[in-house]
């Protein structure tokens, strides 16, 4: 994923014939205008996207490498895009062909419906709304759920006897919370959670970047946050997931969302993508995340290992003929 973006710009700026400083500037300007005008063209590759956190980058790589291995369709990666808002708009605009989304996120953040808790009906309703509104297709779930997890330090949880969110509500007045911007904003985020459990923290929760929050939690700057249940850092930073005993959070099954056009155009693409369904359970996802976030390994390499192992497991009789 490190080298995901094509370097059309700088490469074009180094065209021959750009002599001298002003010549170079002129060539750069001309090249950029040419690029602005003509960036599209050539055989259309399948554009695989992802949002901007590790699990998404891993899933983008996994899907890209899987399609690469199972079909002849050229693949282009557009990974680490700035959040649900950007990825969804890009998919609707046809700038992306597919990315992995979570049913709960689609249901509440994209479709703006009030949270519900039945897993199957969320998937069904999301799939039918996406199809009728944007001609987008939800493929069968990948197998794991990435729900919100309310996290505390394990040491604090032990000394305050916290294991469920109801326990937290009883002691929240002495604790400081910090949440990501998205969690503060979302319908299924902080507002609903605090209503449901009657959470009253020592002050208004701090809003900060999701990546900085884990550091802040481990460093005792805050006591409570919301993270992802598949996050590898839950183990490495010695955090505890508090049980959602009142069942507040809607289901967040991960599944590929794709534009219908490429699926219709390439029947092998659908077959290849459906092969991924049910292959990734929560524990596997947490392990892959930890390999990147905790061990500092390369996303493409971690995804590649998983893809190679699973490819070997795919039954030869199910192989797709090109």
């Amino acid at each position: 994923m490190a080298l995901s973006g094509p370097l059309r710009g700088p490469a074009a700026a180094r065209r021959p014939g750009a002599g001298g400083a002003s010549g170079a500037w002129r060539a750069t300007a001309v090249a950029s205008l040419a690029c602005l005008a003509a960036c599209r063209g050539g055989p259309a590759p399948l554009v695989v996207g992802s949002k901007n956190f590790t699990e998404q980058d891993l899933l983008g790589e996994i899907v890209a490498q899987w399609v690469d291995a199972r079909t002849d369709i050229p693949v282009r990666r557009r990974l680490h895009l700035g959040g649900t808002f950007i990825a969804h708009r890009a998919l609707v605009a046809g700038e992306l062909d597919l990315y992995v989304e979570y049913t709960g996120t689609a249901y509440t953040a994209v479709l703006e419906r009030p949270p519900i808790h039945d897993r199957d009906s969320v998937y069904r309703e999301v799939a039918s709304a996406y199809r009728s509104r944007w001609d987008l297709e939800w493929l069968p779930p990948l197998g794991f759920e990435n729900t919100f997890a309310i996290l505390v330090r394990r040491g604090m949880a032990d000394s305050l006897h916290l294991s469920k969110l109801s326990d937290l509500a009883a002691q929240a007045a002495d604790l400081t919370a910090g949440f990501g911007y998205e969690f503060m904003q979302r319908e299924d985020g902080f507002r609903g959670l605090s209503d449901r459990y009657g959470l009253e923290f020592a002050g208004p929760p701090r809003e900060m970047d999701l990546g900085l929050i884990y550091r802040a939690l481990a460093d005792r700057r805050i006591d409570v946050t919301a993270g992802n249940s598949t996050d590898g850092r839950i183990e490495s930073l010695d955090l505890r997931v508090l049980e959602d005993d009142l069942g507040y959070f809607p289901p967040y099954q991960a599944a590929i969302v794709a534009r219908s056009d490429p699926l219709r155009e390439h029947p092998v693409l659908r077959t290849a993508l459906v092969e991924l369904s049910g292959r990734l359970d929560t524990r596997t996802m947490r392990r892959l995340n930890a390999a990147v976030d905790v061990d500092g390994r390369d996303v493409a390499a971690v995804a590649g290992e998983w893809v190679r192992r699973e490819l070997a497991a795919v039954d030869d009789t199910a192989a797709i003929s090109p």
Binding site: G5, T28, C39, L79
Partner: protein
């Protein structure tokens, strides 16, 4: 020392991201000059345009970057993902200092010099090119310098839409809680900003001396 080793092993990617960053900022400031300087000159000639145009570039400045990029995705030609919409957004954010300083630079020309030009029978065009622009060049350059230094910081948002640049390192580092990766993006960005500020500051002083 661990940081130095980290930077050394990631040298190739850091250089690549720095080059993307320089390219994004360079092109967008250049385009912003091509649009902004004539606009600033026009404002000095057409007082009625001042309110709406300066108000407009001020408002652009207040749009959050993620929202602006989101609006650009479905836009035809200028939109989408990647370098193109990133440059459009950066140009939009660079307009305010360039338009405003060009306008102020032209307007601040010494009235005595302007009257002398009129008395010598200069046409408005001659007055512009031979009196007002040379006298205002220092202020105009100060606007370009400001736009460049701010642009180097703002260009990190290009990573939100897959356009690369040093933001790619910074936001990946933030999402992985890896401060070395954040620094691998932030240190080159700071050095670029310093270099641009010194270089353009030198140019600005040279141009101011022309008067």
């Amino acid at each position: 020392m661990e940081l130095a080793a980290f930077l050394a092993t990631h040298r190739a990617e850091i250089l690549l991201r720095t080059w993307e960053h320089v390219w994004l900022v360079g092109i967008s400031v250049l385009l912003a000059c091509l649009v902004g300087i004539p606009t600033g000159i026009a404002l000095s000639r057409r007082p009625r345009l001042r309110g709406p145009v300066l108000g407009g570039v001020n408002v652009i400045q207040t749009i959050p970057s993620l929202a602006l990029l989101g609006f650009l995705i479905p836009a035809p030609w200028i939109g989408g993902l990647g370098t193109r919409p990133a440059i459009v957004a950066l140009v939009a954010y660079a307009l305010l200092p360039i338009v405003k300083n060009t306008f102020e630079g032209i307007r601040s020309a010494d009235p005595a010099a302007r009257e002398a030009g009129v008395a010598m029978g200069m046409t408005p065009n001659q007055l512009l090119w031979q009196v007002e622009i040379p006298l205002g060049l220092g202020v105009i350059m100060a606007g370009v310098r400001l736009a460049t230094v701010i642009g180097i910081g703002v260009a990190t948002i290009a990573a939100f839409i897959g356009a690369g640049g040093l933001g790619a390192l910074i936001f990946r580092g933030v999402s992985m809680v890896d401060s070395r990766l954040v620094l691998a993006g932030a240190i080159p960005a700071a050095l670029l900003a310093l270099a641009a500020d010194l270089g353009l500051g030198w140019l600005e002083r040279r141009l101011s001396r022309w008067r």
